[in-house]
Amino acid sequence: MFVLVVGGGKVGYYLAKELIESGHEVVLMEKDRGRAEQIADELGSIVVAHDGCEGRYLGEAGANRADIVTAVTGDDEDNLVICQMAKHHFDVRRTIARVNNPRNEALFRHLGVDEIISPTRMVLGSIEQDIPVHELLHLAALGGGELEIIEAHLQVDSPAVGRTPGDLTIPEGCSLFAVVRDGNPLPLRPDHVFRTGDKVIAIGRTECEELLHEQLIGSSS
């Protein structure tokens, strides 16, 4: 696979290194000449010392034959432009962007970036998992962020307690598939009676989240 990595910071550097070790063809673009030379010394002549936002240089780096373009610079606006240029100007099939401001995630998705990696969101997610909350926990995002795996921690007053999966109105585009009880993961059976402390694992479209919350935990206040 030919992967074009734009941005030679820590993320771009280690990404390129890992990809090369897995046998992929990699070109890394880094606009800072000093940094580009430093990476080239370590990884070989895979570095193009130009700005990946410039259409011309993106073309020279081989964007038109790249299977994947991944934009991992520290600037959201640069990452968006790199992915959009790759997608619409060079017909790259798959684009991946790093997003720093979590509020940009929806915009990026809406504007056609295939995959969004948000370090800020990931750290937030980890912090949330350590705090007992009456909310749904986001465990993972799939399908470029359209789908997510979430966990609902049932409380005493949760409407699902004492009921079976069939008693609940599960929104379309959403599926409950497992439950963690006393630390043991169990497949969710139709005769499972939910009780306080159950952690219900579901996969669903992001827009179903509110309905799912209502069914499992209760109306959001």
Partner: protein
């Protein structure tokens, strides 16, 4: 007409003053308060300090539902992201983004943004003055074959609003 101008450089400041004097509602956003020194003392619009690529900043500045949104900072990519933010999230009716890289300017015109490219604009102005051949690249690009429907409706065909000089709404 409500106009939002992000980037209070020379061009941004001149346009802000012109629109303000013509009686329009003008909001100018820049990351540096020193940039607002370019506005004349008579300027009656709002000058807000903040990052124009941040949706929260733009909303707090009152930039939602603008009739006209001009992205005029020195960063092509910043202009491009905020122009798309303005159409997709903030309901701007018409936008113009300054994009100085001619390749990017053409690519974003294809994606539905009206773009102005200072590089070809200046090069052709100089070439025209000296009687040299023109670059052959357009400087003002209307939104072309569009990829989002909302941007299509928002930006029409002309990159510059014909009613910019005459106040029609308060």
């Amino acid at each position: 007409m409500k106009t939002v101008i992000v980037g209070c450089g020379r061009v941004g400041a001149v346009l802000a003053d012109t629109l303000d004097r013509a009686g329009h509602e003008v909001i100018v956003v820049d990351t540096s308060t020193a940039a607002f020194d370019r506005l004349p003392a008579s300027f009656g619009g709002n000058a807000v300090r903040g990052d124009g690529t941040d949706e929260g900043v733009l909303r707090r500045a009152g930039a939602a539902d603008a009739d006209l949104f001009l992205a005029l900072t020195e960063g092509d990519n910043r202009n491009v992201i905020m122009a798309q933010l303005a159409t997709e999230e903030l309901g701007a009716r018409r936008i113009v983004a300054k994009v100085n890289d001619p390749v990017r300017a053409a690519a974003y015109a294809d994606l539905g943004l009206a773009t102005i490219c200072r590089t070809t604009l200046m090069a052709d102005a100089i070439a025209g003055f000296l009687g040299l051949p023109m670059s052959g690249m357009p400087s003002v690009l209307p939104p072309g074959d569009l990829h989002h429907a909302r941007a299509h409706r928002a930006s029409d065909d002309a990159p510059v609003p014909p009613d910019a000089a005459a106040p029609q709404e308060a």
